[in-house]
Subunit: 299 residues, 2 copies
Amino acid sequence: MTAPRPLIAVDWGTSSLRGARLDPHGQVIESREFASGILTVPPGQFEAVFHERFGDWMQAPGALCLISGMAGSRQGWQEAPYCPCPAGFAELGQHLLWLQPQRIALVPGLSFLAADALHTPDVMRGEEVQIFGALQSAGRDSATLVLPGTHSKWVQVHGGRVTQFQTFMTGEVFALMSQHSILGRTLDLNGPFDEAVFLQGIDQSLQPGRVLHHLFSVRTLGLFERLSAAQLPSYLSGLLIGEELRHQAVANGSGPVIVIGNPALTLRYTLALQHLRIPCQSRGAEATWAGLFALSLTC
Amino acid sequence: MTAPRPLIAVDWGTSSLRGARLDPHGQVIESREFASGILTVPPGQFEAVFHERFGDWMQAPGALCLISGMAGSRQGWQEAPYCPCPAGFAELGQHLLWLQPQRIALVPGLSFLAADALHTPDVMRGEEVQIFGALQSAGRDSATLVLPGTHSKWVQVHGGRVTQFQTFMTGEVFALMSQHSILGRTLDLNGPFDEAVFLQGIDQSLQPGRVLHHLFSVRTLGLFERLSAAQLPSYLSGLLIGEELRHQAVANGSGPVIVIGNPALTLRYTLALQHLRIPCQSRGAEATWAGLFALSLTC
């Protein structure tokens, strides 16, 4: 292992750009966040945007920058091919795409082929760094993890390597149903989170009948005035998160599930998992910095 | 039973207004269709729109008009309270809401309370008439029926009465996912229907993993160039219809399923049911006229 260098850790996603400057022990000295997600950057302008945001940090002698997230996708700065599972820190380190030799690198995402008839591919970009960061800070090298979000990831890690994972479009389906479907006409997205109603949604998702049917109950429970407009988003959220967890409750059997994400989402997943008697613990999104720091030690 | 009167049969839905003039034997003499769905009609203007469209037909001596569909909803001409299941022609006839005594009536929809913990309500408006019409022309008084659409209905009829039904938001979820989600960025909705790929979607929906996960494979199969942009809508359609049927394959056990709807949709459902070895037969949307005619004989 080489001596730590000043690390500029960057998470460049679809809708936001976050960066942190770390000291040689991995502590965050300073962080920045911008709305400059990759969708806002014209082709060919990634390097310019990067230097505009972080050029001053890169002046530090020996500075190393690792960038995770969608910046490494086909629509990003440059395509960093997916690293196939099983994969751990060693494989990620070997697959770094160096934009400037030993100075700026894109972290590849992970790919996984399911054991089904179609060998359906699954992919992640950015979450892999959070996973390894959270495991390091939890002092574990095997776990089931969930990273809730627009596209939730459920991940199995054994011996420090991601062995399999599945994506669920839970967050995006929630957004579409609550904003663009007929359900949106009767629900009030400004209603406060209602824990009891959320758990009703979880319970309902476990009933026979499948989610395409249960979604319609958001409309009828409103129509029959059994839930108020302000309660319906909590119910819808419970239905969808419950549908996501229903499968996992069967698959899981390897110690507390680690939930990684922002506080509002980890709260909901923690409530739901506890309701289903699945032990869990949560970690914040700062796992990104821990993961990129640990990865920098392999460079 | 009174002697048949000239019947004006009207199906006034959310997005369209259809009407037919029937002879005393129930044969369609003339039909009309307008884009004047209830969402286009300002409050208080339903009677005016009705007379503008069908006033000439209503001149016939003894003319009787029955109107099914969303015109009887809270957002329609007047609210015709739901008729609770079990319900057949007799119950529908008793619950007609007369706008003009013995001349113009709204047909009520049906409601059903599930046997789950929440006693979740389900509702339909307009499909009940198609169900009874299709059963009459099929010469059956018991069957499982499916009415595919924006909100698909699965219906159990025993002894001429609807005993239970479930709504699935399959069509609406297809529209949202293909037009508004990240999946929409890579699929080409103008691609022709691809039967083999549709059946791949059906098969995939039967794999472990739940629909919120399988939906993401629409993205990855495109990303990995395993399906073309033009094939992806057929695959997505198969995934969602398969998810809807997966449940029914378990519940069904009462003779050929009757599929009622437009040809494009009944084709897909018939293919899917045959693929799952569930016997079925299809009926066109003209079942509406047959149903309203049979109902008029009870007035």
